[in-house]
Amino acid sequence: MELMRDLLDKQVFDRRRVKIGKVDGVVAELRRGKPPRIVAIELGSITLARRLGARPGEWMAQLATRVGGKRHAEPHRIAWKKAQDNGLDIECDIEVGETSIFAWQDWLRDHVIGRIPGA
């Protein structure tokens, strides 16, 4: 597998085939004398902002903490052992409802979209 080609930016699904985001970042562990090993994938705006530069990353982390609280101060991580490469997409053995990945979508539903008639 080539990390940049086959993993980064790919679509991520959860166990129930819900689209939960893209692989915004990859976390690898450097090991002495051995090749590095992937330990997790990251999702979310903080990781994306970090890809644009260190400073945008800091700003986004501050913003996320201010808006979402401490729970959102770090990017969402999914352990690599829960992930499976399905060709074009990545499927993870998690349920998005058990993570805080869709917390903002839930907030949007509860406070805005869900309050509009017919939603």
Binding site: D9, I20, L52, L88, Q105, L108, V112, I113, I116, A119
Partner: protein, 406 residues
């Protein structure tokens, strides 16, 4: 039989997508100012969009990914950010122009100023997206869009010199107003080769659950649908050339001049047909562009999306089209001239094309996405030609706009 029905529906749908305020306004302006001479630009634009739409549909049918998803996944976030921001901005202007087009039609029909109509139009479009399904939006509105065939009927009834019409299909140098001529040529190309059209088409293929068995239908729909759309645009141009130009209007700079086009042919009904065509074509396009904004963002960031879901099931997606529609109504509410906005947004579309057409060369040759149905020599030659054309347009359109725009 089922396939045939599917193809005909698809053709009707893509006609609905093709014809919008941009193609109508640019074709009318070109016909009034240069007679049949710019027909070639519509023909060229139509051929380009046939190829792009076919590829967008094939990509979606084979990979179950849309073009926007492909750009993000294949090129990475840092590259995707550019087409994302530029297309969002261009689509914002186009959406505003479409809302303006409907608003002008309503002004022509009622006498109440167009500014007052922008918010009701946006509200109605939003309501349809909020409550409607993809099939409803796709089919319902585009069937109504067949009213625009009145331009084709009208152009035949005017008995144009068909040799001269055919002559216009061959590019030629202008005898006067060279800068304006080339500006119009590039706006026509921008109006025909709309990124929202092929991006929307690939999302539609996913919404309609296309797979490999749809490749034949896709080819027929792309070819026939876009050809029909182009034919209607040529109809608009012919009618404008024969009606407006002979009545001393060689500069269409006001929407109020446009209903004149069909009146000599159909009398009072010509006015009604024009207003209905403008309203329906623009409204259909507004629905598609509004939806496309949401597709683009949701697909780029990997959220759940789909027009058949309830808004509460994909809040991010529905929030984007809601915001897009109402924001796009604002410039019209503030009284920005819809015709000028239309012409400007077509030029900006043309200038933005490289960002959206270059990815086709890579995506449609990537086996992991399209398997054995990669581009052949002809499709690749077409993409390379379109990319070259896109770069020329990107460089020349804005200077032409400044020096020769209306």
């Amino acid at each position: 039989m089922k396939k045939l029905l599917e193809i005909s529906l698809g053709v009707v749908t893509s006609v609905g997508g093709f014809l919008e305020v941009g193609s109508m306004a640019t074709a009318a302006q070109a016909g009034a100012a240069f007679g049949f001479q710019l027909i070639w630009a519509i023909v060229l634009g139509t051929i380009c969009i046939i190829f792009l739409v076919e590829m967008a549909g094939r990509f979606a049918a084979m990979s179950h990914h849309t073009i926007s998803e492909g750009i993000r996944e294949r090129f990475g976030f840092n590259v995707f950010l550019w087409p994302l921001l530029v297309v969002l901005l261009v689509n914002f202007m186009v959406l505003s122009a479409e809302i303006g087009g409907v608003a002008i039609a309503l002004e022509l029909a009622t006498g109440i100023g167009f500014q007052w109509w922008a918010l009701p139009v946006a509200l109605l479009a939003w309501l349809l997206l909020w409550k409607g399904t993809f099939g409803f939006i796709e089919k319902g509105v585009s069937v109504l869009g067949l009213v625009t065939l009145c331009f084709v009927v009208g152009s035949v009834m005017l008995k144009p010199d068909w040799t001269a019409v055919a002559g216009g299909a061959v590019p030629s140098l202008p005898a006067h107003d060279a800068i304006n001529y080339w500006f119009m040529a590039s706006s026509i190309l921008g109006a025909s080769i709309s990124p929202y059209l092929f991006m929307f088409y690939s999302s539609g293929a996913i919404e309609d659950k296309w797979d490999e068995s749809h490749l034949g239908a896709n080819r027929a729909i792309a070819g026939l649908g876009m050809t029909f759309g182009g034919t209607i645009s040529i109809g608009v141009l012919i009618v404008a050339a024969l009606v407006l130009a002979t009545r001393g209007i060689d500069q269409v700079d006001d929407y109020h001049q446009l209903p004149l086009m069909l009146i000599p042919i159909f009398g009072f009904w010509g006015f009604v047909l024009f207003v209905a065509s403008l309203a329906i074509a623009c409204f259909g396009a507004a629905l598609e562009v509004g939806l496309q904004q949401a597709y683009l963002v949701a697909q780029g960031f990997g959220w759940t999306w789909g027009e058949d879901r309830k808004p509460r099931d994909d809040p991010g997606f529905s929030a984007v089209y809601t915001a897009s529609l109402f924001l796009a109504a604002i410039p019209i509410v503030l009284g920005l001239d819809p015709l000028r906005l239309t012409i400007f947004s077509m030029a900006v579309t043309a200038a933005s094309l490289p960002l959206t057409v270059v990815p086709f060369l890579f995506l449609l040759n990537d086996e992991r996405y399209v398997g054995e149905h990669r581009n052949g020599i002809i499709s690749n030659a077409a993409v390379i030609f379109i990319i070259a054309l896109a770069f020329v347009l990107a460089v020349v359109t804005i200077p032409l706009q400044i020096f020769g725009g209306t």
